[in-house]
């Protein structure tokens, strides 16, 4: 073995060992390793090639199958089932039949708050069979009973009297509820994406 070959070998060994030492120093996310690694994970759809020139849209009316409320524990990210309320046609062709099951997600929710602030639920990420989600416009937000319009002026009027303004903190807004009676309207723009 030549002298240069030994030096070269030592150099490579040094590089590889220092790299693995560095890699061992990193903290690994065990939660991900244990719970997500073996699961099938969907690729992310990015809305990059948009073209909002076209004005033509078709409304799609949906309703939830079961009541969703912020009174009980719900999980952000939970997939929910919705039903198509009315038949949807495009160019005389049926694209969604009545009662077709559509998937949506509970994106975020807040519980009711002090000073009459209502709870709210946001539904998004609708997956309609045969329709590109990038051509759908509509995020559904439902709020509970909003009392801030009455409570905040009272609060500010009472604030000069020490501590009295804080009593309005005891008035809570309403929890948000989405029931099958609510109509969720999304708009399908067939020509939006390039």
């Amino acid at each position: 073995m030549s002298k240069y070959f030994k030096l070269y070998f030592l150099f490579i060994y040094f590089i590889v060992s220092s790299y693995t030492a560095c890699a061992q120093d990193l903290i690994q996310d065990e939660l991900v390793e244990q719970t997500l690694r073996d699961k099938e994970i969907k690729e992310i759809i990015v809305n990059a090639d948009y073209n909002y020139e076209d004005l033509f849209s078709i409304p799609i009316k949906l309703q939830v199958s079961e009541k969703i409320t912020t009174k009980h524990n719900i999980q952000e990210g939970d997939v929910i089932n919705l039903r198509v309320k009315q038949i949807v046609k495009y160019n005389e062709k049926v694209i969604l039949n009545q009662n077709t099951i559509v998937k949506g997600k509970i994106k975020v929710y807040t519980t009711k708050g002090m000073n009459g602030i209502p709870g709210q639920i946001v539904l998004d990420d609708f997956e309609l069979p045969g329709i590109d989600s990038r051509k759908i416009k509509g995020t559904f937000t439902k709020r509970g009973l909003d009392l801030t319009l009455y409570v905040l002026p009272i609060k500010w009027a009472l604030t000069p009297i020490p501590f009295v303004g804080s009593f309005t903190n005891l008035i809570f807004g309403g929890s948000a509820e989405i029931t099958p009676r609510d109509t969720i309207i999304l708009y399908y723009y067939p020509n939006w994406h390039k």
């Binding site: 996310d29 991900v32 997500l36 992310i44 807040t110 801030t148 319009l149």
Partner: protein
């Protein structure tokens, strides 16, 4: 007119002339240098404004946000609890002090996505959004977590990695002792909530983690061990209750 007949007199006159020329040259050079510095600063501000506009409008378009707002880069003033230009004049103001913490485009996007979310809230509620804005002002703690989570959605739709929101908040927000009577949540609580939101909604970014070698993300992993254990427990038990993060 002064006439110097002798050699010493001429020499002293030449010295004075030379001195005046040097002083004049110094003024000219320093003036030019200051002008160049000013020009450079203006150019930097313009570049920053351009970058913020481009990222901001990309987020708005990709998320189909049909509410008007503008982006302003401010290198003079500081962020103040009294000023809320996002809620009052639908302006997303990016203060130099805040954006200095951003290392890359994704972290700038993280900052902007959060502010866009807050500004969009000013369009909701009675009186053309005045009541919605008042709600955000009255209960900032409640809305803070909501904006963090929606910012994650906005970033993902626009093609940015939402883990940049974690790294940005981790290095730019202080950790207070308590949040019981504060207007804001503990930063560790916010980070844990963002992590949980990404875990349940966009696990793709955690499995294909591009930020695992990032120092700030590693620091987040180090400082969030207890909170992540709580999340692990929630996942294992299948509970839907909100976790009380610390």
């Amino acid at each position: 007119m002064l006439v110097y007949n002798n050699y010493e007199g001429r020499k002293s006159f030449m010295k004075k002339i030379l001195f005046v020329i040097i002083i004049l040259m110094m003024f000219v050079i320093s003036g030019k240098a200051f002008a160049e510095i000013d020009q450079q600063l203006i150019l930097n501000d313009m570049q920053m404004q351009d970058k913020i506009n481009s990222i901001g409008f990309k987020i708005l378009n990709a998320n189909k946000i049909d509410k008007r707002m503008v982006f302003v880069y401010d290198d003079k003033n500081k962020e103040s609890i009294l000023k809320e230009p996002g809620l009052t004049s639908r302006q997303v103001v990016v203060y130099k002090d805040s954006i200095n913490f951003a290392d890359n485009e994704e972290e700038i996007a993280a900052f902007l996505a959060r502010e866009i979310c807050k500004t969009a809230e000013s369009y909701t509620g009675f009186w053309k959004g005045i009541v919605g804005s008042a709600q955000v002002k009255v209960a900032p703690k409640k809305y803070e977590l909501l904006f963090d989570k929606r910012a994650v959605d906005f970033m993902v739709n626009a093609g940015y990695n939402p883990l940049a929101l974690i790294t940005f908040i981790n290095k730019s927000f202080v950790q207070k002792r308590y949040d019981m009577i504060s207007n804001h949540n503990l930063t560790s609580k916010r980070l844990a909530n963002i992590y949980e939101y990404i875990y349940f909604n966009y696990p793709y970014f955690l499995v294909n983690n591009e930020y695992i070698n990032n120092e700030y993300y590693q620091n987040f992993l180090l400082t969030s061990i207890e909170n992540r254990k709580k999340l692990q427990q929630k996942i294992n038990t299948g509970s839907k209750e909100r976790i009380k993060y610390e």
